[in-house]
Amino acid sequence: MSQNSKKVRLATAWLGGCSGCHMSFLDLDELLIELIEKVDIVYGPLVDHKEFPEDVDICLVEGAVTNVENLELARQIRTNSKIVISFGDCAVTGNVTSMRNRIPIKDLLTAVYHEAQAPIGAESLKVLPALLKKALPLHQAIKVDLYLPGCPPDPERIATAVTALLEGREVELAPQMRTFG
C-alpha cells in the first residue's frame, strides 16, 4: 500500500485518552473500505509502526498531553504533519484526562501506585513517563489546525471532517456536530 505515492498519508495518535475516539473511528464501518482506497494509514494504534513517520498529510490526535512522552510525540507530530486535528474532547479541552489537574502530582501517584490495591505497584513509577504538572489540551502544546469535539466524536463527525479534507474542501461542521460531550 505504501508504494502508492498518490495516496494521502493519514496518521492517528493516542495520547492521554481512553481510545474511545479510535473506537469511534473504527465505527466508520464500510466507509473505512472507501477510505483505505484514498489513504494510507501510516501510524497509530491501528497499525504496527513504531516511529512517527515523515511527510504525514493528516494526523488525528486523540487525548490530552498529560506526560513527557505525549509532549515529545505531539511535537514530532507537528513537525512531520501538514494538518493536525484535535480529535475528541480530551485533545480539544483536556476533558476527563484533565480532571486530575487540581490534585498535586505527588498525591496522585501516592494514591494510585502506593496506596491503591492495584496489580501495578510503585515499581512501575521507575519506567512510566513523568506526568506534566497539568494535562493540557493539544493546542496548548502544539499548533492545531482543526478541532473535532465529542466524547467520542460520532463517526458522522469524523466522516464529515475527513471527507472534506480529502476532497480539499474547508471543513465545516454544523452546530449539532461540534458539541462537546
Partner: protein, 238 residues
C-alpha cells in the same frame, strides 16, 4: 403605552417605551444568544452574551438591561460582536470545571449548546481547574459548583417567583459562589420549600435532581411563563 421606533440590523422596528433591546428583538424574531436571561425573571446583564452595538456608544451593551430608545441604531451581529461572545464563552469554560462528557446535563445544557452554536470550538485560555465542591446534603437536589456559571437564575426564581429567597451569592468576582441560607448546607436550609424551581431553571448541570447519571438531567424552564401568566393575568393553562 407609547410606541417608539428604532433601527435594529438595518431594519426599522417598533417597540413599546420601556422595553429592553432584547425584548424588542425577540418580538421581531431577531435572535440574540443569552444565558443568564430567562423569560419570567428580572433582567440581570450578568453573562454578557447578549452584547450588542449601539451607534454612538464605544462599548458593547447588554441587550437585556439596555432600554430601547427612539431612533436608536442597534447591531446584533457582526464580526466583533461574534468574537466577543465566543471570548465570553471561552472564559466561562476556563473558569470552572465543565467536563461535558461526564455531566448530568450533557446534551441538554444551554452552555454546551451555545458553545456549538457560536462556534467556540476550543478555549484559548488556561483552564483554572479550581478546587470546587459539591453539596448533596439536600434530600432531593444537589449543587455542583464546578458547573455553575453564576447566571443567578436560581437566586432570582427563588426570590422573585417562589418568594423564599433561599439562594444568594457569597464572595466577589472569581470567588463568587451561590449559597443557601447564609452559607449553610442546602439540606439544613430552613427557608427552602423544596419546590425545585431553581433546578428547572438552571441552564447547566450545576443544580440537579439527585440520582441523575450522565446526560439524564433534562430541565424544563417553560413552567415559569405558565405559572406567571396564571398569577399575573389570571390565564391558567397546562
Amino acid at each position: 403605552m407609547p410606541v417608539i421606533t428604532l433601527t435594529i440590523d438595518d431594519e426599522l422596528v417598533s417597540a413599546r417605551a420601556g422595553q429592553s433591546i432584547l425584548e424588542a428583538c425577540r418580538e421581531h424574531g431577531i435572535k440574540i444568544p443569552t444565558l443568564c436571561n430567562l423569560d419570567g425573571l428580572s433582567a440581570r446583564g450578568g453573562c454578557r452574551l447578549c452584547l450588542v452595538e449601539v451607534a454612538g456608544n464605544p462599548r458593547l451593551l447588554p441587550a437585556c438591561t439596555t432600554e430601547a430608545l427612539e431612533n436608536m441604531v442597534v447591531t446584533t451581529h457582526n464580526e466583533k460582536i461574534d468574537r466577543y461572545r465566543r471570548m465570553i464563552l471561552e472564559l466561562t469554560f476556563a473558569e470552572r470545571n465543565h467536563t461535558c462528557a461526564v455531566c448530568v446535563s450533557n446534551q441538554h445544557c444551554e452552555l454546551q449548546t451555545l458553545a456549538a452554536e457560536l462556534g467556540m470550538d476550543h478555549v484559548r485560555y488556561d483552564y483554572l481547574n479550581p478546587e470546587l465542591g459539591l453539596d448533596t446534603s439536600h434530600a432531593r437536589y444537589g449543587v455542583d459548583h464546578n458547573r455553575c456559571v453564576l447566571c443567578l437564575r436560581c437566586v432570582r426564581v427563588c426570590d422573585e417567583v417562589e418568594g423564599a429567597h433561599t439562594w444568594d451569592v457569597k464572595g466577589r468576582g472569581i470567588e463568587s459562589r451561590v449559597i443557601t441560607d447564609l452559607n449553610r448546607p442546602w439540606g439544613d436550609s430552613e427557608s427552602c420549600t423544596e419546590c425545585g424551581k431553581c433546578v428547572e431553571v438552571c441552564p447547566t448541570g450545576a443544580l440537579f435532581d439527585k440520582g441523575s447519571a450522565v446526560a439524564e438531567m433534562k430541565k424544563e424552564a417553560s413552567f415559569l411563563r405558565r405559572i406567571l401568566d396564571g398569577r399575573e393575568k389570571n390565564e391558567w393553562r397546562r
